[in-house]
Subunit: 192 residues, 2 copies
Amino acid sequence: MQQIRQAIRQMIHATDDELDALLRGCSLRSYQRRELLSEAQQTPGEIFFINQGILRVIAADPSGTEHTVHFAMEHQFIADYSSFILRQPSVYALQALEPLEAVVMPRSAIEWGYAHLREGEKLGRLIAEYYFIYLDSRIKNLYARSPRERYDAIAAVFPNIHNRAPQHMIASYLGITPVHLSRLKKAGAGKF
Amino acid sequence: MQQIRQAIRQMIHATDDELDALLRGCSLRSYQRRELLSEAQQTPGEIFFINQGILRVIAADPSGTEHTVHFAMEHQFIADYSSFILRQPSVYALQALEPLEAVVMPRSAIEWGYAHLREGEKLGRLIAEYYFIYLDSRIKNLYARSPRERYDAIAAVFPNIHNRAPQHMIASYLGITPVHLSRLKKAGAGKF
DNA sequence: AGAAACCCTAAACATTTGTTATCGTTCTGC
DNA sequence: GCAGAACGATAACAAATGTTTAGGGTTTCT
């Protein structure tokens, strides 16, 4: 639980006692490759902090096609945060792409933090803000960049992604088909 | 300043005195049609709350093409929030599409609120969360819905948008060209 | 080790979407 | 009220991207 303490302390000031109490309400879990951390259609009851490993966030459209909407790696908080906040059935599923270890933060612990950590609400604000900034950058890229440019830029956001996720998931993340990504790679003087 | 008081009170509990003090640091401003509330490249120093009117958020890509990335209407908070948080030059410009009135909340007032409102941090968290939820729904739509479907759904998010924004801005928002939107309208048994 | 599943590439073809240009209409500013 | 700009529709053509199918190489599982 050392990594999450450090991550929290990068955002707020908190005593050891405060962190102990917060983390007492959390647990550590391991997941196998391809295992789901959380499924679509169920109301999410927790937020995850990834200690080790990589996962993808999957959205299924009405026709059943799956889209890889996000990746998340070590030292990131991740969840279907919208559904968590709204207490609605989730749209996203979270799937480990490697053996993965995560801190599971149940809603009870998070609410305890808001209420009892001196800077609990601030922590919540900062997490929401950082996550917001990430989504905003996604939208900027989707609007203002071509698939080719997005491909060239992806490794800056997710280091080593090309060795940690299969290409068809990367293609989906970029908003194109695997076939098309293969073409792009062939055509461009790809950097990778 | 009645509307913003109400909006804040939908999120947190605050006394009249608290709101008075917060709003003392804010100001009311009117903008003409097409006037910019804030420009790209400048570090944003404020957040806006729209009393009346509609605006769009514009992102310019490297080639200079402008994209309408968001709309915002009455009773919404709006800003280039990422740039505001990061204190970086903005990527977005905000442009009034109608004569518009907004409460201008400078950074000083916001920080005062975080520090002195009893539930200031919580307010910040909730604003970030709601804004986050909106962006998340944008991303879901961009991935899992066709342009046609996005067109059919837009009026649910922005009521009466078809009478308040020209079609080429709506097309840009949907991620397609005006010509293509015109085609879609002709083809589909459009609802509008 | 062997079978099965997975993954990437490739080619041919189909579809969607973009580009450019034109035209008539409607706003807008003077 | 007029002149110019903005706006939306349309057509012809071009480019980007998707679909389907096939093959061969890996990885995975037992």
